[in-house]
Symmetry: C2
């Protein structure tokens, strides 16, 4: 016979109320059942812990030693369950998200700030990463999920489409091109161009070239981070292209955007989650919130 939680609860309640009948009522069991539980507990312990006559119930000396120990155990258990409930109900918890630097400082900052108002107990940790670092961080379990552009299929990672949006032209205020409501790439590429080092530029150049031999995506300046590119554009050093999710930063720099067509070049971004992991309730909530947030944005109208 083994000690059970029910027996311990019975014992503590009995000790507190000093009566089998009352304690049984409090525990929502019958008095014979409680009697049996205490008896079982005493058998399991091998010692009598309650001195009882039909008139009086009191703890034996062993029972007096045992009571605080059990009371503490039950209290700790309740606390543990409450901790879990808090996590479940998003009163506490942590979400770790890896996202490219530009997204971290624009879209995600917006989302995090409104999510945090809704769930003040949840700690959202943004890991602003290089694009190529997002996937490893998800795979390594450093973060609950990541956000990244399209990737080759990965066995371990599930990808949920977050958005699919077209590149827009980014122009300083008063730039001649701002006179046009819409731009074509051909019109746009005639101006000094700031772009990013690496894949970003190469893939874009390839796509444009594939659409038309005439289109030559040839940046005059290349920097590492889009924030730098935007800053430079704001200073009148050139034009650049980016995705409309960076809206908040664009307006901060007082930059204008225009849709770019012929061709329309789109980028998909995905939420990346490890398939073998169930993410925490907080992470799940943020995940859902992010999807809903993005869904209600009208990126199409971003060309202001």
């Amino acid at each position: 016979m083994n000690v059970t939680l029910r027996q311990l609860r019975a014992f503590v309640t009995l000790a507190k109320l000093g009566s089998f009948t009352e304690a049984a009522t409090a525990l929502h069991i019958t008095q014979p059942t409680l009697s049996g539980l205490i008896k079982e507990l005493e058998q399991a312990l091998g010692v009598q812990i309650v001195n009882r006559t039909t008139r009086k119930v009191e703890l034996s000396s062993v029972g007096k030693e045992f009571l605080p120990l059990t009371a503490r155990i039950l209290q700790d258990l309740d606390e543990a369950l409450r901790a879990i409930t808090d996590i479940k109900e998003l009163k506490s918890g942590t979400v770790r998200v890896a996202a490219p630097q530009l997204m971290a400082c624009t879209l995600l900052t917006d989302v995090v700030s409104s999510f945090s108002q809704l769930y003040p107990g949840v700690d959202v940790r943004l890991s602003d990463s290089l694009v190529e670092d997002v996937l490893p961080r998800v795979q390594g379990g450093e973060v609950d999920f990541g956000i990244g552009p399209e990737r080759t299929e990965n066995r371990d990672i599930a990808a949920h489409l977050l958005f699919d949006m077209p590149f827009v032209a980014v122009l300083p205020q008063q730039h001649p091109l701002t006179r046009h409501e819409h731009l074509t790439w051909a019109e746009f590429l005639g101006h000094p161009l700031i772009s990013l080092e690496g894949e970003y530029t190469q893939i874009l150049r390839r796509e444009l070239h594939a659409a038309s031999d005439q289109l030559n995506y040839a940046p005059t300046k290349e920097v590492s981070f889009m924030t730098t590119a935007l800053s430079m554009a704001s200073a009148g050093l050139g034009v650049t292209v980016c995705l409309p999710y960076a809206r908040s930063l664009l307006s901060l720099y007082q930059l204008q955007t225009r849709t770019l067509s012929e061709p329309t070049v789109r980028r998909k971004f995905h939420l990346l989650v490890r398939k073998d992991r169930v993410i925490s309730p907080a992470a799940q909530a943020f995940f859902d919130y992010l999807l809903a947030y993005v869904a209600q944005q009208k990126w199409g109208s971003m060309a202001q």
Copy 2:
């Protein structure tokens, strides 16, 4: 559905071993049973705590939070059970005994010292009391049991006979009476007598007088404690009577004892226990030990 200890144990073991099959073996249950236990626990908590595929088992983020809490609870429970076992096996525990002062410093000191060698973990606390304070201390629950002379029947207190022994004469060395092997009260009472104040003397006088008009128990000195009386007798200030259980003290004072007859006056001492209480294993052990110790003494041969 409620959380059970078995579920928690299953969870902790599973977390430690990282495999349902292994953990099930360790817990001496089958794998499907363990599977069910974890499922129940997750249902009870309302959250998934283990991410599992057929190839890998690992804790979810919630599970990682829950693990230390449950591990601690189980550890505390084990400790509590061990504490009870220790008490049961007399590796720890406390005995509180109330006894008259003379008995505390003689018989009981001897018993306690040999009992303590046998059960070093048990703490025996002697409460050396006035004879009339023993019973109240037992009744009030201050002590596990008491030792006292015969009393009127008491509803709440059970009395176990500890011993029944005759008064002996206590003589300084070289006292003229030591020449006799045995004494009669008539011979004895002819010498300067030291006795105790109160009931002790009065009852004795009454008993002797009832046996023979000739016997007049008339102390020349009265003190409060037998230890004082013995000390005075040792100094040659008179003779006194006491019960042979004080053997160790008598030999310390180098006092001689002689049996006293015509009449033989006896005193019973009892172990006094509250009827409504089950005493602790340590107290029970000491109780038994004391009875056995006394039983093997040959008080009759005390007249050296």
